[in-house]
Symmetry: C2
Subunit: 261 residues, 2 copies
């Protein structure tokens, strides 16, 4: 149990005006002092990218004793880095909450998601971090039915510890259509995004395409996955750690003949 009020960083990838972000801010304010550092424009599907080729603009929007809000021209990961190192270098965050994303971040979507990248970046800085998403892409959708669950999760999250480098991925079903049945802990389904490109209508006749895609679930019917449980009306919580080394293959790789000069 924390003795002082928790210091909570909030970010997202839909941008500082997003409805999901506003709902998360209102929930978080009940639990602690809140700093919001969010992109000044939508930054969906930005994954773990950072802004390196140009500088990042930082604007202070609001500052009161227990609440402040900044927007940046950067990505969600930039926002986390800016918050930790530039805006609040002298007070360590107890929690990072990212979202609430308009659109699910189940299965392999975790790798493309800016919302989850922010949470993963937080975990890499050894701050307890969680990303929230709702299975509805409509920016005007009303997510108010997630609030009691959201508050339960934040409350538990304040009490508990996570292993080093691990963050949580919370996905809610489409609460504009279904009533949440409860929260279950499951893994993210194995899947892959298959793309279809649609020709854009360029009056200048250049070759522009829009990316569209469909997630193929390689674990269709597996009840122990996020996609399955969300389809049943449950919210899901998944422990996430981006482990990049595939150690199982290291011995075999050492037998490849790379050095045959």
């Amino acid at each position: 149990m924390l003795e002082k009020r928790p210091y909570i960083l909030i970010t997202n990838d839909d941008g500082i005006t997003a409805k999901g972000l506003r709902l998360l801010i209102e929930a978080a304010k009940k639990f602690g002092d809140v700093l919001v550092v969010a992109p000044d424009a939508p930054q969906s599907a930005k994954s773990h990218s950072i802004t390196q080729a140009i500088p990042i603009k930082i604007d202070k929007v609001i500052e009161t004793e227990n609440y402040a809000e900044y927007s940046t021209s950067g990505t969600p990961v930039d926002c986390v880095k800016v918050a930790i190192h530039e805006i609040s270098p002298n007070r360590k965050f107890d929690l990072i909450l990212s979202g609430i994303n308009h659109g699910a971040n189940t299965s392999v979507s975790v790798l493309y998601s800016g919302t989850m990248a922010a949470a993963i970046e937080g975990a890499m800085h050894e701050i307890k971090s969680v990303g929230f998403s709702v299975d509805n892409h409509d920016p005007s959708a009303d997510f108010k039915d997630v609030v009691p669950y959201l508050e339960n999760i934040i409350s538990e999250f304040i009490e508990k510890e996570l292993p080093r480098g691990v963050c949580l991925n919370v996905n809610f079903p489409d609460v504009t259509k279904v009533k949440i049945k409860g929260i279950v802990s499951v893994k993210g389904a194995d899947g892959v995004w298959g793309e279809k490109f649609v020709k854009a209508n360029d009056p200048h006749k250049r070759n522009f395409v829009w990316i569209t895609g469909k997630l193929t679930n390689n674990e269709e019917g597996n009840i122990e996955t996020d996609i399955y449980q969300i389809e049943q009306g449950y919210a899901t919580v998944t422990p996430i750690k981006l482990d990049f080394n595939y150690l199982n293959y290291l011995n075999e790789l050492s037998e490849w003949e790379f050095n045959k000069m």
Copy 2:
């Protein structure tokens, strides 16, 4: 052993004019038919991001029987997706080669790197993929001393198979300063990027910052890591798979009291 000439996709994140890309193209042409689909401008540190909010421009640069070159306004991952689904939907790639990146992609840099994201995306599409990087950021640096090693790796890579979803990360030492001692198979070191933001000089007095950073190696002195071996003058090969589920914590997480309504 492949019966036909291998069909090789080449991309990078430094952009279509980068010297490292040009060296990789020349090496790859000896082994098969080559399609280059690369960003029309630098896309460093773009991680696994895709271009979703605006359409992607595709320009054909060169097309001959065994060689073609396209540039796109997208990220490295966009380039891979565009190549597979839009430019070459009827001929499957045997290999994807990404790079040669100007700058090392050791340790946790894999997560930020566009070069490695392209290779990871290739592996997710079940295509043998490898990213190449040199420990020198200078865009004008001459990487010619990597060529014999590069050719050995491509040759081995054509012969061998990798487990599903796994790609390779190859890092060369700074060949403008040291002679490569050989190639070793090691894991990526555990590390974290710590940032420092430097105020940009904006004549309009707005608050802009440049991101700068330093990688902290949490495995200093561990000879079985990429950073250590590159410092010794070896090139490193690391098997990479972005595993996002942290299953070790799933049981414990199921005991959290999320459902205490």
